[in-house]
């Protein structure tokens, strides 16, 4: 023992000296690098993501910026010259699961996290072909794949103060030195034996890393956790169910609607102890308003899907919270689907914008929800300003703006032991996690989404830790019109589409708006550029596999604009291909078997990063 302790001491001394040396050298190497991008990334206060998110040369968080607009003002690629766009370089990840999430670009380096096994790659953008600078392999447990509901995806990383933060599927959050690829800290947050995984992209605000759990189909109790960015230690955790003290509901909680006021609603709106296994996971997107100092995120579906096993409103699932990032205290909550009947998670991204409405400026958040409604909500109070269907909807009649409550449709209410047919939208919703973009230039939201209905039967289910807790037999089908997907430019003020593109398959990729050009991908593998104003198809490129990745834009060290996206079919619908499911069972992939049999004949699996530029490949 003594010898080991001595050795550890010696190691620490050596490591300490090495660190001191590297620390001493750092300013020198910074000044040696002359390229504008690296100076931009590394100089002083600009290491703060609050500043970096405003630089359109870089892309330092999944949603591009705190407002989650996925908008870049880079204007080198235009509707006129996008036809000359070609491949600059590619990279095979060697992973055949679904590739969600965008790569990041910080300074002269691009970072990419793969689906399980969650390898983090750094690419040197200053060299031809962007060779690998380093790679970090967290070696997540293979067993974690058995409790990941919807393929073994990862939705990306976040950069702050010299570190890359990301989650591994087996429930670890990591801080990796952005320059060297060395581990700074690793924090184990979930237990796969309780069905808990992590797939979401962290957000970093004021020295805290915000992460949430996945496992809404496994009877997990959802939470958002704030970790100290320097140490990885938990600063606070806010659960989505249970007593107010666990949900961090206190005197500063001022929800707009009566139905969200009362003591311990996270217990009293559930039968018995069901809140302990009630879901409300936090696997989607976070936004932040620096001026109001409010963090926004959504809570997922209540568990199980069979609603008869959980009478009540099931607070605080299927809704959205505004919280103080410092303390975690809840400021308001709004429930998009009280007593959710259809697996309509409330985790979709919230785009923050200031809109001119009714003669004044309103600070709003916009959410295209699973339940088929596009919400415009006052982000300071949680008041619903409008909720407009953006696909054919027959399972609700919109929102009663007085009570804030979703108006249900009796004949579409799911029942245990009874098949309710043609419920629109289906469980994956009018839109799932695939993030939309917002252009302050056009004032339009660019929404990649689904046109899917379903037959639903609730079935009795027992909670067995580490196994699915769903209790439903579901079969999806194409919505009205027969096309299973749309790409829609939505005018949030007029409450109607400006233009719309029909796609054969659900559009499960993210959207990017780079000045006047909008990018998205299809499950067939087409990567498309369309005119932001008209929707006219300007350019397309056939990738090797279906696209569910999230495109992003950056300025390379050569000063030119680049567009990057990952191809690699998978995710919830694409698992039909990536997990080789058998569509003769209409419930394969938890409902997709009935309508995506042709996807297996259309694309094959395989993860690949594509980077495009005007004149690339010539």
């Amino acid at each position: 023992m003594g010898i080991r302790a001595q050795r550890r001491g010696l190691f620490l001394t050596v490591a300490g000296i090495a660190f001191m040396i590297s620390a001493c050298q750092k300013p020198t190497s910074d000044t040696v690098q002359q390229s504008p991008a690296s100076a931009r990334a590394l100089s002083g206060s600009l290491a703060d993501p609050a500043r970096l998110q405003q630089d359109d040369g870089q892309w330092v968080m999944s949603a591009k910026n705190y407002a989650a607009t996925r908008f870049s003002s880079l204007g080198e690629i235009t509707p006129a010259n996008v036809k000359q766009m070609g491949v600059a370089w590619t990279f095979s990840t060697g992973v055949t699961a679904g590739h969600e999430g965008p790569p990041l670009v910080v300074g002269d380096t691009m970072y990419l996290v793969t689906p399980w096994p969650n390898i983090l790659y750094a690419f040197d953008l200053t060299k031809p072909g962007a060779p690998i600078k380093w790679q970090y392999d967290p070696k997540p447990l293979g067993a974690a794949k058995g409790v990941a509901c919807c393929d073994i995806v990862n939705r990306g990383a976040a950069y702050a103060n010299g570190a890359i933060f990301f989650n591994a599927l087996d429930g670890r959050t990591m801080s990796i030195d952005a320059a060297t690829g060395k581990e700074r800290w690793v924090t184990q947050l979930t237990d796969i034996n309780r069905g808990e995984t992590m797939t979401m992209a962290p957000l970093v605000v004021k020295g805290k890393v915000f992460v949430g759990n996945s496992g809404g189909e496994f009877g997990v109790r959802g939470w958002l956790t704030a970790l100290d960015a320097d140490s990885g230690k938990t600063a606070w955790r806010a659960y989505s169910t249970g007593p107010d003290k666990d949900v961090l509901i206190g005197p500063t909680f001022k929800p707009h609607y009566d139905s969200d006021r009362g003591k311990d609603l996270g217990i009293t709106t559930w039968p018995g102890e069901a809140w302990r296994i009630g879901g409300g996971t936090v696997w989607g997107w976070l936004s932040y308003d620096p001026e109001a100092d409010l963090l926004y995120y959504g809570t997922a579906n209540p568990g199980p899907w069979n609603p008869e096993q959980r009478p009540g409103d099931n607070k605080w699932t299927a809704g959205m919270f505004a919280r103080s990032p410092d303390t975690g205290e809840a400021r308001w909550f709004y429930q998009t689907s009280p007593h959710d009947l259809y697996d309509h998670d409330g985790v979709n991204e919230m785009v923050l914008a200031d809109l001119q409405m009714n003669g004044g400026t309103r600070k709003v958040l916009m959410r295209a929800d699973r339940n088929g409604l596009l919400y415009v909500i006052d982000r300071l109070t949680g008041e619903v300003l409008s909720a407009t269907p953006f696909v054919p909807v027959n399972s609700n009649k919109g929102v009663d703006l007085k009570s804030g409550r979703l108006i249900p449709v009796k004949e579409k209410e799911s029942k245990q032991g009874m098949v309710v047919r043609d419920i629109c939208p289906a469980a994956p919703g009018a839109k799932d996690e695939q993030p939309m973009a917002f252009s302050p230039k056009t004032g339009l939201l660019y929404i990649p989404h689904n046109n899917v209905c379903m037959d639903f039967e609730g079935t009795a289910v027992s909670y067995i830790a580490g196994t699915p807790y769903v209790g439903a037999s579901v079969v999806y089908k194409a919505g009205p019109g027969g096309n299973r997907g749309f790409f829609t430019a939505w005018d949030p003020l007029a409450g109607k589409p400006k233009w719309q593109i029909k796609e054969s398959f659900p559009v499960w990729s993210g959207a990017l708006v780079a000045n006047d050009v909008v990018f998205y991908g299809t499950m067939e593998g087409w990567f498309k550029a369309v005119d932001a104003n008209t929707g006219q198809l300007l350019w397309q490129f056939k990738c090797g596999s279906g696209i569910i990745g999230h495109p992003m834009a950056f300025k390379g060290p050569d000063g030119h604009e680049y567009i990057a996206v990952t191809a690699g079919i998978g995710g919830w619908p694409g698992a039909i291909v990536s997990a080789d499911l058998d569509p003769r069972d209409a419930t394969a992939g938890n409902g997709w078997g009935g309508m995506l049999a042709d996807l297996k004949k259309t694309t094959t699996k395989g993860g690949m990063l594509y980077v495009f530029t005007v004149g690339g490949g010539t």
Binding site: G146, P468, T587, A588, N590, G594
Partner: protein
């Protein structure tokens, strides 16, 4: 370091060292007996020994297969492998691709031991008899049991062919992928 401690450490080192260096020439190693272990591959060194052909005790037994169907729902197997075996989180069971083999004893091992890419280990958590019933039902999803004994139409939403109408022509497979 006290003299006593020094002596103790020396003694321990000597004892452990003796065990480490022991060569046993007379006794047979434990594995000398011919193995009856479940094989997950047809590839064997030298001349192949026959692959065991243990059958599910419920292969021809309607009650056992029906119990298997009930347990497939009750233990949430359907949540991962699909209501009719089309797969979701876990692989499809109704097709003719068997990562760990479709012999009854291979499926028994997969359920009991679990598999490293996500299959939980049910051994010790549920009775072996129920595992055998599940084995029979899993085989029926791919048409590998007697159609006379297989379960029939679901009481719930129809999402695939009834098990007793799945043609039993598929070959039993030893793991191949």
């Amino acid at each position: 370091m006290g003299r006593f401690t020094f002596a103790l450490v020396c003694t321990m080192a000597a004892t452990l060292g003796c065990e480490r260096e022991t060569r046993r020439y007379t006794e047979l190693p434990a594995a000398a007996n011919r193995s009856t272990a479940v094989r997950l591959t047809t590839l064997q060194p030298g001349s192949p020994q026959p692959i065991s052909n243990v059958q599910s005790p419920y292969q021809y037994n309607a009650y056992g297969l029906a119990e298997g169907k009930r347990l497939y729902a009750a233990y949430n197997c359907a949540g991962c492998h699909g209501v009719a075996g089309g797969g979701a989180i876990g692989p499809a069971l109704m097709d003719d691709k068997w990562i760990y083999g479709s012999h009854a004893d291979q499926i028994f091992s997969s359920i009991s031991q679990g598999r490293p890419d996500g299959m939980p280990s049910f051994g010790g958590h549920i009775p072996d008899q129920q595992i055998w019933q599940l084995v029979g039902y899993v085989q029926s999803l791919a048409g590998l049991v007697s159609q006379d004994a297989a379960t029939s139409r679901n009481d719930d939403q129809i999402v695939g062919k009834p098990e007793n109408r799945i043609e039993g022509t598929k070959q039993i497979q030893t793991g191949h992928r």
